[in-house]
């Protein structure tokens, strides 16, 4: 038995030694500046991205043909700057998260890949992602241009950075401009305008609302509520302000002002807006390509989230990072590609067509995205800002759905269920 264990250990060492032979040295492993600095070299650290050569496997999902085209355009500019790195783009079809977990499990991780903010904290905590701080210090990459609402999600509890936001999106109010001629600016105006539309011919409901925190969190914040304290240490959903905010959101359903997309017979609120079932929906920039291709005749506009009792403009944002895997083989090449795609030039090419908003301040705002981009300045993360957020979301949505479908519209059980989930998440 002992001989078997020794043999297995020896075999493992041989495998590790052979496997390591193809890996690029990480910054920690590389020595200081070489004998001659090339044009792209950072003089003080010896980091010269133009001198790095080899392949870099890039993976992510592709939500639409427009996204595929935008990424192709962005990648076309890469070889001109870094001719020695060969990008091998391998999009993942189907359930991205599940496929990636199998790749992480088997150690066959792409060099650079998407990480949704929704599960970024879990992936950081479980050690799936490589910290980028050494690379940032070595390369001098300016991370100050990223909006903090996007970038903060990809920082771990250890304060290290595990990815750069590849883009962003904020939630705003999309309204049918034929029906709503003057978009409401406050929540009170929203309720008044929607109440006037109840029963209007052709409308199944004035507003399409989401029964979960996906959109409900923006309303919770706008009405002065919150889930956790600013330092993330304690729950805040059971405060009077949060309870009142949840009740206010429930009352939109109770008073017939809002309906869920499912109850309208639509897959999501953008579809309900396009079908003319509702006059108002709270969505992000992904509505634009969908409406252009599916409902080109519907006239709609964008307005910022109405201001609630909190008194200040509030919205939530969603983002995805480019991250390098802890087991990625070509980390140097991946970081060069990362700084290009999440840098000014790459992001400008990626967002120019309007598939998403830039997550950097120095990238021009695509035409027609001004309202949504305005929210980037003050948006709070819509996911990934606390551990175990998936369970918190589920607890809120399950309890909220039970209140709507049971026609009881009581915030109490929703708050209690959410509080229990938050407490459990914070204690782990």
């Amino acid at each position: 038995m002992r001989r078997l264990l020794v043999l297995a250990a020896a075999a493992s060492l041989v495998a590790v030694a052979c496997g390591g032979g193809t890996a690029s040295p990480s910054p920690a492993e590389t020595e200081g500046p070489g004998p001659s600095a090339s044009p792209g070299e950072t003089a003080s650290t010896g980091w010269d991205p133009t001198a790095i050569s080899g392949p870099a496997i890039l993976s992510g999902w592709r939500s639409s043909p427009e996204e595929g085209e935008a990424l192709t355009q962005a990648l076309l500019g890469f070889p001109a700057q870094y001719p020695n790195i060969q990008v091998d783009y391998r999009p993942i079809a189907g359930d991205y998260r599940t496929v990636m977990i199998t790749k992480i499990s088997s150690g066959e991780v792409p060099d650079l890949f998407y990480v949704n903010a929704e599960y970024a904290q879990e992936w950081i905590d479980q050690g799936f992602l490589a910290p980028l701080d050494d690379y940032i210090a070595k390369s001098g990459f300016d991370t100050g241009q990223f909006f903090d609402g996007y970038a903060s999600i990809f920082r771990g509890k250890d304060g290290k950075t595990y990815g750069f936001p590849k883009d962003g999106n904020t939630i705003a109010m999309a309204y049918n401009s034929t029906i709503v001629t003057s978009p409401p600016k406050t929540m009170d105006e929203l309720v008044s305008a929607a109440t006037a539309l109840v029963g209007q011919s052709g409308l199944a409901a004035p507003i399409c609302l989401n029964p979960g925190l996906d959109r409900g969190l923006a309303f919770l914040y706008a009405q002065g509520g919150s889930l956790v304290s600013d330092d993330g240490a304690t729950e805040q959903i059971s405060t009077d302000a949060s309870r009142a905010a949840v009740q206010w959101y429930l009352d939109l359903f109770k008073n017939g002002i809002g309906k869920t997309a499912a109850d309208l017979g639509s897959g999501w609120c953008g579809e309900a807006l396009g079908k003319g079932q509702v006059a108002i929906a709270f969505e992000g920039g992904w509505v634009d390509p969908y409406m252009a291709s599916t409902f080109p005749d519907i006239k709609y506009g964008w307005a910022e989230m109405p201001t609630g009792s909190s008194g200040s403009p509030v919205t939530i944002s969603y983002t995805v990072s480019y991250s390098i895997g802890a087991d990625s083989v070509n980390k140097d090449q991946a970081f060069v590609l990362l700084t290009y795609l999440a840098g000014k030039d790459g992001m400008e090419k990626w967002t120019a067509g309007g598939v998403a908003l830039p997550s950097r301040r120095d990238v021009p705002i695509p035409a027609g995205k001004e309202v949504l981009a305005k929210g980037s300045d003050y948006a709070r993360p819509g996911s990934g800002f606390m551990p175990g957020y998936v369970d918190v979301q589920k607890a809120f949505q399950d309890a909220f759905t039970a209140q709507i479908q049971g026609k009881t519209y009581d915030a109490g059980p929703v708050v209690d269920a959410t509080r229990a989930a938050i407490d459990k998440a914070l204690s782990q």
Partner: protein, 314 residues
């Protein structure tokens, strides 16, 4: 007749031994695959379930039976068991009855028998994902079902049960699971029809002739001749159905998403396992769910053996 000589006996033994070696060699490959991939996986899952398990680096902390304790205290897991058991108790008998009825019909010498056999079986060969999406459209608030019942003037009847004219059948926590049961009864009854058809055709004509001579009516013949003789068929169909029912995943995931919406109405044991592994990345816990599911299915199969007797030898 003369007894075989010692030499002849030795030759027979050698021949039998070489036949046995050939037989073992032939089954060795599938048996090894079965032992490693099926039985081995069960023991590996059992091992993982005792640990806090990191997907990338393997075992982190030994937790003993803690994952199992957490499991039994989780209301969503208990809801998943409740849903799976309800689904099994309703869907299995319903689909068996429909499958048997269809089999009896297409076993008659009726015109267009081949067409009906193909037509009844057709939903079973359609893609599960495609047919579930089709079903979602049919039972959506402005879908075919609500439109047809409205056109037929049946809405007052539905109102008596509290179902409004634009009822969201699959999005409502009270009707979602029953909607999936009806969907799967429709799509799977064709397969069960085939199983029953094979069993029906194995029953000899002489027993029906004897029943006819005794003056048995059609119902008496079915009740006292056909049904008892179908016992091996019942055992097979019920076993396959219960295992399939307890493993419900794809239709529930497509109809309600992986969160089992609305409000866990479509949360099944396998969906719960999937969530533990791929939403929470807690593989130790997910393995514990898998072992629990194994125990439930194994127990259910043993109960069926008690109900239907020993497994028949086909």
């Amino acid at each position: 007749m003369a007894a075989p000589t010692a030499r002849a006996r030795s030759s027979i033994r050698l021949e039998r031994r070489s036949e046995a070696i050939a037989a073992y060699a032939l089954i060795a490959v599938p048996m090894i695959l079965f032992l490693v991939l099926n039985i081995g996986s069960i023991f590996y899952a059992l091992f993982i379930s005792l640990w806090k398990w990191n997907v990338r680096s393997g075992p982190v902390d030994f937790k003993g039976l803690e994952n199992y304790g957490t499991l039994l205290g989780d209301p969503i897991f208990l809801r998943a068991i409740q849903n799976s058991v309800y689904y099994t108790l309703v869907w299995v008998p319903l689909t068996m009855v429909i499958g048997l009825s269809l089999a009896v019909i297409v076993n008659q010498k009726i015109r267009g028998r081949t067409f009906f056999r193909a037509a009844f079986y057709f939903p079973a060969i359609a893609s599960s994902a495609a047919i579930t999406i089709l079903w979602i459209f049919i039972v959506s608030p402005d879908g075919l079902f609500n439109t047809v019942r409205g056109a037929m003037g049946l809405n007052p009847l539905f109102e008596l049960f509290g179902f409004g004219p634009n009822k969201n059948w699959i999005g409502d926590q009270d009707t979602a699971l029953n909607s999936v049961i009806i969907l799967n009864a429709w799509t799977t009854s064709g397969t069960f029809m085939l199983f029953y058809l094979a069993s029906l055709q194995s029953i000899g004509n002489q027993v029906y002739e004897a029943a006819a001579i005794d003056g048995a009516t059609a119902w008496q013949t079915f009740r006292h001749v056909t049904l008892p003789l179908l016992r091996p068929g019942h055992y097979f169909v019920a076993t396959v159905a219960v295992i399939g029912a307890l493993q419900l995943f794809d239709q529930a995931a497509i109809a309600g998403g992986i969160a089992g919406d609305p409000n866990n109405a479509l949360m099944t044991m396998v969906l719960y396992l999937y969530n533990a592994a791929f939403s929470r990345f807690d593989f130790g816990y997910a393995a514990a769910v898998g072992i629990a599911l194994f125990v439930v299915i194994f127990g259910a199969t043993l109960v069926q053996r008690r109900l239907f007797g020993q497994a028949p030898s086909w």
